[in-house]
């Protein structure tokens, strides 16, 4: 028997695509050794992708004849990682390549008879019945990995490949494209994926199911709410995805200024003098209100960068970054923030932050922000240089309010000061407009109740 015949009967085990955006990966660990017998569905290796480590199964029964790629080496998707000898074929290639004459085998060798290996480009489907089935189910067999003998495509393979396409609404597909979201990672329960699912993922909101309109009876038999740990992992993943995209794609610039808050805080104190603790206006709301109004005076920072051009926001929808005590972030939105007065902004902010922390936001309250504000006012941080949340083009970062030396009228004074940093997407907006925004923000802070 010629040397090649046995090797023809082997089945490749290749680097799988574990997600639509995966181009390459590496083996973290082989969980089988050469010579091991494996069954379809066995986990044989741990593969590292850009996102995480995943267990990888084998799709054929057989014996591992060769581990080709050692752990640690990064290889493109589709690279042969190992070779298997299918059950019933020659046990391993070493036997064949040793050129032992078959006649000299003491025991009858396993039947190598039907050795068939299609050449490249040839369909692996041998049976007309299966070819018809593939045609009827619109399965392209050229790209199918056969699990049958000699890599042949089986009825199971075809039926598996013909699984109905996941139902994703046209709007969800568009939003996923615009935000760079891999739709295969989206959760939607038993429903089709809709726009809110994408926005939720983009808004880093993974912790809770916030689909209010879906809470009609059908919800009762939906899978149980994912446990907290899984939700936290998902939120981390969403944050990772959005921030990585932002950091890789957006040419950020930063402009920063220090702002004297003495007048602002005095006005606020006067305003709060007859208010109870529950109705007091907090500096955070003053900042939000001023940021929203500044965004109307410099509309170039308020909007989205979509398909290579800037689309101005029709109104200011201000995203407010809320750090969750359990870890992770949410960015609920104060809609039409610039059209509301300070008191309304305060009320909405109080409500949104409370509900963000208790996981009770509505889907419509997240996503589609036109500009975002992040404040690290509770800590000791002087300044924050945040990362833009795509497709927005600007984010304002504020540190904590500290007393600082301040030159005033040629004298040194001590004033309450906040450091404001505007990060802009340089594709959409230039630094000059960023500095105009900060100037406008500073001006609005001087007259918080105007």
């Amino acid at each position: 028997m010629p040397d090649g015949a046995a090797s023809l009967a082997r089945v490749p085990f290749t680097m799988p695509a574990l997600g639509a955006d995966m181009d390459e990966g590496s083996i973290v660990e082989w969980l089988v050794a050469e010579g091991a017998h494996v069954h379809r569905g066995d986990v044989v290796a741990v593969v590292q992708t850009d996102k995480n480590d995943l267990d990888v199964e084998v799709f054929a029964d057989g014996t591992v004849t060769e581990l080709v790629v050692p752990p640690g080496e990064k290889v493109p998707v589709g690279t042969v990682l190992a070779w298997l000898a299918p059950n019933g074929a020659v046990p391993n290639t070493t036997v064949a390549s040793a050129q032992v004459p078959p006649v000299s085998l003491a025991a009858p060798a396993p039947e190598p008879a039907t050795v068939y290996e299609p050449t490249a480009g040839e369909s692996h489907v041998t049976s007309p019945v299966l070819r018809h089935l593939a045609e009827a189910l619109h399965v392209d067999t050229a790209h199918l990995q056969g699990s049958g003998r000699g890599g042949r495509i089986t009825r199971d393979d075809i039926e598996h490949a013909a699984q109905p396409r996941r139902r994703i609404s046209p709007r969800a597909r568009r939003l996923a494209r615009e935000h760079g979201v891999d739709t295969s990672t989206l959760e939607s329960g038993t429903h089709a994926v809709v726009g809110e699912d994408v926005l939720r993922s983009v808004s880093m909101l993974a912790a809770t199911d916030v689909r209010p309109v879906m809470s009609v009876p059908a919800q009762a038999h939906v899978a149980p709410r994912r446990d907290r740990q899984v939700a936290a992992v998902e939120m981390r993943r969403a944050i990772s995805r959005v921030m990585t995209k932002a950091w890789q794609e957006i040419p950020h610039y930063q402009v920063a200024t220090r702002i004297d808050l003495q007048r602002c805080l005095e006005s606020l104190a006067a305003l709060n003098s007859d208010r109870t603790a529950a109705t007091r206006i907090l500096p955070a709301a003053v900042f939000a209100h001023a940021a929203a109004r500044a965004a109307t005076s410099v509309p170039e920072v308020n909007g989205h960068w979509l398909d290579g051009s800037f689309v101005a926001g029709s109104s200011v929808h201000l995203g407010i970054v809320v750090a969750l005590r359990t870890g992770g972030l949410l960015a609920p939105v104060i809609r039409h923030a610039a059209d509301k007065d300070l008191f309304t902004v305060m009320d909405e902010m109080r409500d949104l932050v409370t509900r963000a922390r208790t996981g009770r936001l509505r889907a419509s309250e997240i996503g589609d922000a036109t500009i975002t504000l992040t404040q690290l006012g509770e800590g000791e941080v002087d300044a924050v240089v945040p990362i833009i949340h795509p497709p927005q083009v600007a984010i304002l970062g504020l540190g904590a309010i500290h007393d600082e030396p301040w030159a005033h009228d040629g004298m040194l004074a001590v004033r309450p000061v906040v450091h404001a940093t505007l990060c802009g997407d340089h594709r959409a907006v230039d630094g000059r407009l960023g500095s105009l925004f900060l100037a406008s923000f500073t001006r609005f802070l001087q007259e918080p109740t105007s």
Binding site: R166, S169, P170, R171, R174, A192, V194, V213, V216
Partner: protein, 327 residues
């Protein structure tokens, strides 16, 4: 100050006003004079304006619509009343082959500034020859304008702009609205070819007109109790359709349901659904839903007629279906 009145009184006031202010205006149709109109819209006008301006005609829709066209071509501003839309089919040749085409066929030399009013719709146990909603058919015809008032304000104020139009305008009055009361506002109405958002909401856009508006608003209220916040768009004009308004609404809510008393197949609801697909496909989170009349000649029996027509319950169910697009 607001006045409460019925849609019937509002339309009568509009006709009176037109007769008072423009000598070229006259009313013509079956039983519009001595009998006061089959639906009493023209009641009292014969006494006030006399038989030259309130003209009873023989029972021949083709003849009196044709006469109206001739009068309009010669400088008059006729208001022709046809008893129901079903009978307008007898005049369809005049409406389509003459009224709608003459401006085009004469190279712009001759216009037909005619207003035709007719009742439409079911719900009164008048069975299969008096109860259909065929306004969608007329909306198919270039050269016509098709208005579908649904509120007291629109009944009161749509006639005048229709009379001012240099081309034929058809006004479809849903018979169940004649007794409906409402407040007459002081403000001028929006242009007649603009749709109006009658109720704002975030979750779904309900697009409707005429006799289905109130049912749709009631359904929206019922849905509010389930946490579904529906926006309701009143089309007001079926030709031209104000795409801008309802498309903008669908773009904001990402879901749409069309409520139309016409039959579903080949209907104005089909046209609207198609336009939404053309203009807002990538803003949709669910297929466009429709609530239309059952595809049967309108039954006489009360319970069968009720079952055939769009109802609050059917609209609510239709919305639930669009909201819960199970995978």
């Amino acid at each position: 100050m607001t006045t409460t009145m019925t849609c019937r009184d509002a339309m009568r006031e509009a006709i009176r006003e037109a007769l008072l202010h423009d000598d070229r205006v006259f009313v013509m149709g079956e039983d519009v004079g001595a009998y006061g109109g089959c639906f009493a819209v023209t009641k009292g006008l014969l006494d006030e304006f006399g038989p030259r301006r309130i003209r009873d005609t023989p029972l021949s829709e083709s003849a009196f619509v044709g006469a109206g066209i001739g009068a309009a071509m010669n400088g008059m501003r006729p208001i022709v009343e046809i008893m129901t839309v079903n009978f307008s089919l007898l005049a369809l040749d005049q409406i389509m082959n003459n009224a709608a085409t003459l401006r085009h066929m004469s190279g712009g030399q001759v216009g037909v500034p005619l207003v035709i009013r007719m009742t439409t719709g079911g719900g009164r146990q008048l069975a299969a020859q008096h109860s259909h909603s065929l306004e969608g058919w007329y909306a198919h015809i270039p050269g016509l304008k098709v208005l579908v008032p649904a509120t007291v304000d629109d009944f009161r104020h749509m006639l005048q702009p229709a009379l001012e139009d240099p081309d034929p305008v058809l006004i479809f009055e849903h018979a169940l609205l004649y007794n409906a009361e409402g407040n007459l506002g002081d403000d001028p109405i929006p242009p007649v070819d603009r749709a109006v958002v009658r109720r704002t909401g975030h979750d779904i856009t309900l697009i409707t007109y005429g006799g289905s508006l109130q049912k749709t608003l009631d359904a929206a209220e019922a849905l509010a109790g389930e946490g579904i916040d529906a926006e309701v768009v009143d089309l007001r004009s079926l030709r031209p359709l104000d795409d801008e308004t309802y498309i903008a609404s669908v773009r904001a809510t990402h879901r749409a349901l069309v409520v139309d008393e016409g039959w579903r197949t080949g209907s104005i609801s089909a046209e609207i659904s198609a336009r939404i697909s053309e203009a807002a496909f990538f803003d949709l989170d669910a297929p466009v839903g429709r609530v239309c009349s059952a595809e049967v000649p309108m039954p006489y029996a009360k319970q069968l007629e009720d079952a055939a027509l769009p109802s609050v319950e059917r609209i609510v169910a239709g919305v639930r279906e669009v909201m819960a697009t199970d995978a």
